[in-house]
């Protein structure tokens, strides 16, 4: 399967074509990346997605936001809870890929606690040490800063609306945005006011936009991967963390509503 091509140092080296996904630990499920590698440097990457029948089920992480947008009365606390858990889920994958198994396990544990309905005070006390450790880790900064830079302008051009747009930076910045959001959403899970249907933003961006948030993330992905070392490539994917459920749902909505 190997052919040869010039690498970045103008050496002629073997190229290895390998698919990553759709099933890999800590990988967005259903995503397939076709990589051309030289050694462990990514030369080219194309994004595919496992063909799945369109699902009438709303994507789990967007559920409260879609319901709110459809006019249902959703308490703000429920939305905050789902958002908090969604970002913790993303963080768990990010930490796992960065090789911080302990933090990944902890993030997964807190995510489960969030979903099973811990109160704000309890959840905040679980979340706080997690955030502090991740924010203060100089090693994590040293290892993830500079990977997959995505300036806000470029993100906007591709239609990215979620944390990746707010972060306006590299993988480490995107993680910081998640941490931030986890912190204040954990404090807001007891909220009872009704969520404003006009401004619902899900974990990956606007849930009602022309392009689903995850579609936009997949569009920017190949451009960020070229030239990345294998481990960096996985960190970049994890720092965007597209949710492919969003894509299958939208096509279903398209069919139903014509």
């Amino acid at each position: 399967m190997a052919d040869r091509a010039d690498d970045r140092d103008e050496l002629r080296l073997d190229r290895l074509h390998i698919p990553l996904g759709p099933a890999l630990a800590d990988w967005p499920s259903g995503l397939v990346l076709r990589l051309t590698l030289q050694g462990d440097i990514v030369q080219e990457a194309t994004v595919e997605q496992v063909p799945t029948p369109p699902s009438p089920q709303p994507p789990f992480w967007n559920e409260p936001f879609l319901h709110a947008a459809a006019g249902e009365r959703i308490p703000k606390g429920d939305a905050a809870r789902r958002l908090c858990a969604a970002h913790l889920d993303s963080l768990a994958r990010f930490f796992a890929v960065a090789g911080w198994a302990d933090m990944a396990a902890r993030a997964g544990y807190v995510r489960d606690r969030a979903l099973t309905g811990d109160a704000a005070a309890e959840l905040s006390s679980l979340v706080r040490p997690l955030i502090r450790r991740a924010e203060r880790s100089r090693t994590l900064r040293w290892l993830t800063a500079g990977l997959g830079p995505l300036p806000a302008e470029q993100a906007r051009r591709h239609g990215v609306t979620g944390p990746a747009l707010i972060a306006d930076g590299d993988a480490h910045d995107r993680m910081l945005v998640w941490l931030d959001a986890v912190g204040w959403n954990a404090a807001a899970v007891d909220g009872v006011e009704v969520l404003d249907a006009a401004q619902v933003v899900g974990p990956r961006g606007h849930v009602l936009g022309a392009v689903p948030g995850s579609r936009a993330l997949l569009d920017v992905l190949p451009g960020l991967l070229g030239g990345a070392e294998f481990a960096c490539a996985r960190i970049i994917v994890a720092s965007l963390d597209p949710d492919l459920d969003e894509l299958t749902h939208v096509s279903a909505a398209g069919m139903v509503h014509g």
């Binding site: 796992a96 090789g99 544990y109 040293w142 290892l143």
Partner: protein
């Protein structure tokens, strides 16, 4: 110092190593389960958690082995078997108290040579199965070797320099008054880093990283997997234990007998290594390489220079 070691020590050594490795792996499993599922509710649950590595090993032993297409079976086998063998052979020069199985005149060189065997082992195990992910894992360990080995060799040479001998027993004797860790702190620190790196463990576990589905071990199953991953624990135990005779005064200490001091100090080092892995994410070798060549290597040379001057003026 040169006490004769009875012949049965040859059989006790691997057994002892395995017991320590199993205990350490159990401790690690308890901590990992604590992070995943919260604090354990009862002593019983803790025991179940601690027994997980053992149960995993048994499960792999009875599991149907799987094999990749066009894999190089002999090479993979040599690679996986080499890892525990290298660890055990390296341990031959490890003194328990003041006795080792064989106190070779060039024990430190022997240790370093056996540890370099691990490079071959991981590379073969990664290359053999004909799989991209395990191949990358093998490559990574070679890059890791380039990163850690130079300051590591300088660090152990510094200990030898301080004792004016390559014999591990004499290195221990030289620390009767003052531990080397106290007057060669840089060398000691570098040694601890490389102890983790040579066992590709802790922040240096990239060759077997989760992002590669297990890296060099990704395609190993059955006995091969147990040998490889078990060998890695042995290597960690041996690398950590070796810091005791090199820098922590071996069996020297008040009141307690020599062997007890050795065990105590080894336990402290191992617990530290397990703790540190929970605190730090995996280091990428392209980043670490910068640090080792720009900071750690010059530091190690400087440390060796200081020690050399002290020894010459003694």
């Amino acid at each position: 110092m040169a006490e004769r070691t009875p012949l049965w020590a040859i059989f006790v050594l691997p057994t002892l190593l395995i017991v320590v490795a199993v205990v350490v792996a159990g401790l690690d499993a308890v901590l990992a389960a604590g992070a995943r599922n919260g604090r354990s509710a009862s002593l019983r649950e803790t025991a179940v958690r601690a027994s997980r590595p053992g149960r995993e090993a048994l499960r792999h032993l009875v599991q149907q082995p799987r094999r990749t297409r066009a894999s190089d079976v002999p090479l993979t086998r040599i690679g996986t078997a080499l890892l525990p063998v290298a660890a055990t052979l390296a341990a031959v020069v490890l003194p328990l108290g003041f006795r080792s199985v064989s106190d070779l005149p060039e024990g430190i060189v022997w240790f370093n040579a056996m540890e370099a065997l691990a490079w071959a082992a991981v590379w073969l195990a990664g290359w053999g199965p004909n799989s991209a992910l395990s191949l990358i894992g093998g490559y990574r360990f070679l890059a890791q070797g380039l990163a850690y080995e130079l300051p590591h060799m300088l660090a152990i040479t510094t200990a030898a320099l301080g004792a004016e001998s390559l014999r591990v027993g004499e290195v221990v004797d030289a620390q009767a008054g003052l531990w080397f860790a106290l007057w060669m702190p840089a060398a000691f620190g570098i040694y601890l880093l490389s102890a983790m790196a040579m066992a590709f463990w802790g922040p240096f576990d990239q060759p077997a990283g989760a992002d590669l589905a297990g890296g060099a071990a990704a395609e190993l199953s059955g006995v091969d997997r147990v040998l490889f991953l078990g060998g890695r624990w042995l290597l960690l135990v041996v690398a950590a234990s070796f810091s005791v005779p090199l820098f922590l005064g071996g069996g020297h200490g008040p009141v307690l007998p020599g062997w007890a001091w050795t065990v105590l100090k080894t336990v402290v080092v191992l617990v530290f290594l397990i703790w540190i892995r929970r605190r730090i994410p995996t280091l990428r070798m392209d980043r670490y390489l910068e640090l080792t060549w720009v900071v750690l290597t010059p530091l190690a040379i400087l440390q060796a220079l200081v020690v050399a001057v002290v020894v010459l003026n003694r």
